[in-house]
């Protein structure tokens, strides 16, 4: 398909995004910007306990407070049976989703919603929260993943039995699931190995850190028709989840997407919308709800923390002959950690003959995890890529050379089964090896680390419409919230097909009543899948434009070609006519059959996986343990970059988040299981002054399944950074950091352990 567009005029250029000006001048409407007439303010009462039985909730005093219009608790939501489905970003149990939005019987983490109130002002709603009386029976809690796996751990759910073990357990457990992937003969592999190393690594849960908190404004009319205006990664996801949780038909809900101030996976779930709908229904007025930052940290999902146990066996020449991985992932209060993709991604970069992978999905008294860029992959890759570096040092082989020796390529059979086709990992290694960064000299306490990463990318269901306006401009309507500049990409692909300038195409993200179903923005799928729908819609429009031109010229449509945005006769035999521009044809649309448009709905397949190799230079301050990132280069196979600047932006964003994950970010709980650092002052994400210019190298191995060769690019850049930084620290000071974050106190302690400080008396 890519060959149809070998000569590109728009794709591959760097125009300004259509939403750019509004965002720069502060005019863009985000979730909290919408108001409705007669609107109330909703607030959530949250559990102060990590684990507690809810004995009673009494809202009488709150309801007597002037201005309070409604209070809802779990009793206001339909009882939903345990029902698993794959919707949104992974396996979803709607009963769990409902209970995560509003605790029923038990509060399962500090910050778990137990009631919500709507009042005429935000201050009154806040005051009313204190008047809602909740009687708790505090229960023992468990935060750590391995503590939660212990036989004597406090149980979160009496009806949770470990799946994936035989015989079927008779006792409940916090281990929701055990999964495994095997290839070859792992015992024989280790027997064959000349060098074996075995290491244990840990990561902490980290939040996506989106700047815009969750926010919505909703209205439930007296006839049951619901309108939701909210910030999310998918208005169709919001509609479906709310319909399920409220017990109404999907057709009764219209979900309108706002601009979104970051999501990174964290807005692939609902938290506020169902509560606001229940409040609006009860109060008979629209309700607005906006989380503050503390609520975002306490009440919404980070990604898992985990334990990663890696064992590698290799020949002295560097060929790895056995690889074993055990992953223990925190799921939060309900099952559903990304341990599955963690298992499949950890070793995916390598061609390994004998592999054993085991994963555990474990609940504990933390917020239910949500997706975060390449869910699961960064955790397992931190362990694998760190261990690979340790193996390289043991073997005295250059770490990049070790990766080249074992690299997956076309024809490699993965540990999770499929045989790779059309993959670009080796190309990223080659580009990294030849990059000037690798030649830069390092000084004292400075080191260089290499790490690679893999992510699947997905396609999925997308719909789009291409509408030709009367003046020859075009409107593109699609249904995926634009997080990373996707609207620009959509307009560029449509402009390329139509043969008109980029600024003659206006892309719009439609609401659920304006465009056919779209799966949400996630899985690095939008430019690939929705871009495919947009391209096909534009191609259908071109067919129609040719037909209209043929009608005007009174010749056969087969005798018309579309060239540079104009209809031209296909050859001398077609006749001698002046070209008709798109604007010429649009002007006569009414007389030639009516408006010209096309809508396409597809389930896009063949996304093509993403591979990346990163180079990181650090300097360690041995006095303080502070790590400074000196230089960072990210090499990635991007298929073909539709808008290179926005691809670079995705790569830089993923790297920045990965560096924060590596160096500083962690949830700190007190002895009662209460989150101690629910704000950006104490939960430190990277800021601009922490970063050098993040260099990007786009390796283009076009995806033959996409009309322009695009692959997903938004997730794999967060996979390598943690190991790249850890490997650089080890190179700089000889200290191997195996527990994230590698914060100054921890690194300083590790340095002291390596070189004990002399006491004053000595």
């Amino acid at each position: 398909m890519a060959s149809s567009y070998d000569t590109l005029k728009v794709v591959g250029t760097r125009p300004i995004r259509p939403d750019g000006v509004d965002k720069v001048i502060g005019r863009a409407a985000f979730g909290a910007d919408m108001v409705m007439p007669g609107m109330l303010w909703g607030k959530v009462k949250r559990s102060p306990h990590a684990h507690a039985r809810i004995k009673s909730i009494n809202a009488d005093k709150a309801l007597k407070l002037p201005g309070v219009k409604a209070v809802v608790t779990a009793a206001d939501f339909p009882s939903i049976p345990s029902e698993e489905a794959f919707v949104g970003e992974g396996p979803m149990n709607f009963r769990d989703l409902s209970r995560n939005c509003m605790a029923q019987d038990k509060a399962l983490y500090d910050g778990h919603a137990v009631a919500a109130v709507a009042a005429t002002s935000s201050a009154i709603a806040e005051e009313a929260l204190d008047l809602i009386e909740v009687e708790y029976e505090v229960l023992p809690h468990v935060i750590d993943v391995e503590a939660a796996m212990a036989d004597d751990a406090p149980l979160l759910h009496d009806d949770l039995f470990t799946q994936g073990v035989e015989p079927k357990p008779t006792r409940p457990s916090n281990i929701a699931k055990k999964i495994g992937f095997n290839k070859g003969d792992i015992a024989a592999g280790f027997k064959e190995a000349e060098v074996v190393i075995e290491r244990r690594y840990t990561t902490q849960p980290v939040h996506q850190g989106y700047i815009e908190p969750h926010a919505c404004v909703v209205s439930v009319a007296t006839d049951g028709q619901c309108t939701i205006f909210s910030s999310s990664q998918g208005q169709f996801m919001v509609r479906a989840y709310c319909a399920k949780l409220l017990g109404t038909d999907i057709a009764n809900i219209r979900a309108i997407p706002s601009e979104i101030g970051g999501g990174f996976g964290g807005k692939t779930l609902v938290y506020l919308e169902p509560l606001a709908l229940a409040l609006s229904k009860k109060a008979g007025r629209p309700v607005k709800m906006v989380m503050n930052r503390e609520e975002v940290f306490r009440g919404t999902g980070p990604t898992s923390g985990g334990v990663i146990e890696v064992k590698l066996g290799a020949k002295r020449d560097g060929h790895i002959v056995a690889a074993q991985l055990v992953l223990k992932y925190q799921a939060g209060a309900f099952p559903g950690s990304p341990v599955g993709p963690g298992c499949m991604c950890g070793f995916a970069m390598y061609d390994l003959p004998n592999v054993s992978i085991t994963g555990y999905d474990v609940v504990s008294n933390r917020p239910k995890v949500a997706a975060y860029r390449a869910p699961g992959a960064p955790i397992s890759s931190f362990g694998v890529e760190s261990c690979l570096d340790e193996l390289a040092r043991e073997l005295r082989i250059d770490p990049l050379k070790l990766r080249e020796l074992n690299a997956a390529k076309d024809g490699t059979k993965t540990a999770h089964g499929p045989t790779f086709v059309n993959v670009g990992y080796v190309q990223t290694l080659e580009a990294a090896k030849n990059h000037p960064h690798m030649q830069q000299k390092l000084g004292p306490n400075q080191g260089r680390g290499i790490a690679s990463g893999f992510w699947f990318n997905i396609g999925g269901e997308s719909s789009a419409g291409c509408f030709i306006n009367e003046d020859g401009t075009a409107t593109i309507v699609e249904g995926c919230p634009d997080i990373g500049g996707s609207r620009a990409g959509m307009a560029m692909m449509a402009a390329e097909v139509l043969g008109i300038p980029y600024d003659r195409v206006r892309p719009v993200v439609g609401d659920t009543a304006s465009v056919g179903f779209n799966f949400l923005t996630g899985g690095s799928r939008v430019t690939f899948a929705t871009g495919m729908a947009v391209t096909q819609a534009a191609e259908k429009v071109v067919v129609e434009l040719k037909r209209r031109a043929a009608m005007i010229w009174d010749i056969s449509p087969d005798a018309v070609e579309w060239k540079d945005g104009m209809a031209v006769p296909a050859g001398a035999n077609a006749g001698n006519f002046d070209p008709l521009s798109l604007a010429d044809i649009a002007l006569k649309a009414g007389r030639t059959g009516g408006p010209i448009s096309a809508e396409v709905s597809i389930n896009a397949q063949g996304a093509g996986p993403g591979f990346a190799t990163h180079i990181c230079d650090v300097e360690v301050d041995p006095e303080t343990g502070r790590v400074k990132i000196l230089r960072y280069t990210a090499v990635q196979d991007v298929g073909r970059a539709i808008h290179p600047a926005y691809v670079e932006g995705q790569i830089q964003g993923g790297v920045a988040q990965g560096i924060g994950w590596a160096l500083n970010e962690e949830y700190i709980y007190d002895r009662n299981g209460r989150l101690d650092n629910p704000g950006f002052l104490d939960y430190r994400i990277p800021v601009a002054s922490d970063m050098p210019m993040l260099e990007t190298v786009m390796v283009e191995v076009p995806n033959p399944r996409h009309p322009f060769g695009a692959k997903g690019v938004g997730e794999v850049p967060i996979v390598p950074p943690m190991a790249a930084v850890a490997n650089a620290i080890a190179d700089a000071v000889g200290t191997r950091m195996r527990d994230l974050p590698m914060s100054p106190p921890k690194l300083r302690a590790a340095l002291d352990e390596q070189n004990p400080p002399r006491m004053a008396a000595e």
């Binding site: 698993e84 489905a85 794959f86 949104g88 970003e89 992974g90 396996p91 799946q163 994936g164 035989e166 699931k177 055990k178 999964i179 495994g180 992937f181 996506q208 990174f264 996976g265 964290g266 692939t268 990604t303 990304p338 599955g340 993709p341 298992c343 499949m344 997706a371 975060y372 860029r373 390449a374 869910p375 999770h416 089964g417 499929p418 045989t419 790779f420 086709v421 992510w455 699947f456 990318n457 997905i458 396609g459 999925g460 269901e461 996630g522 899985g523 690095s524 799928r525 389930n603 397949q605 063949g606 996304a607 399944r705 997903g712 997730e715």
Partner: protein, 82 residues
Amino acid sequence: MPHVVISGTAARRFTGGASEFDVEADTVHRMIRELDRRFPGLGQQIDEGMAVAIDGEIYQDAYMEKLSPDSEVYLIPKIGGG
């Protein structure tokens, strides 16, 4: 006929532990129907929780994708993203 492998251990509870099958089918849908006939419940598990890798390329919710007699098919956990 296409050779089908259930990757990972999660879905093997439907098959009594077996993981590899030859399935007479020329589309993904027919393959799922045949597997469900042999192992009741597996079809729903595939529909709701699994992706299908055909000769290395991963498909999700793609009933009408073609299988050739020598296709290598892996059933892997469905992929989402962030």
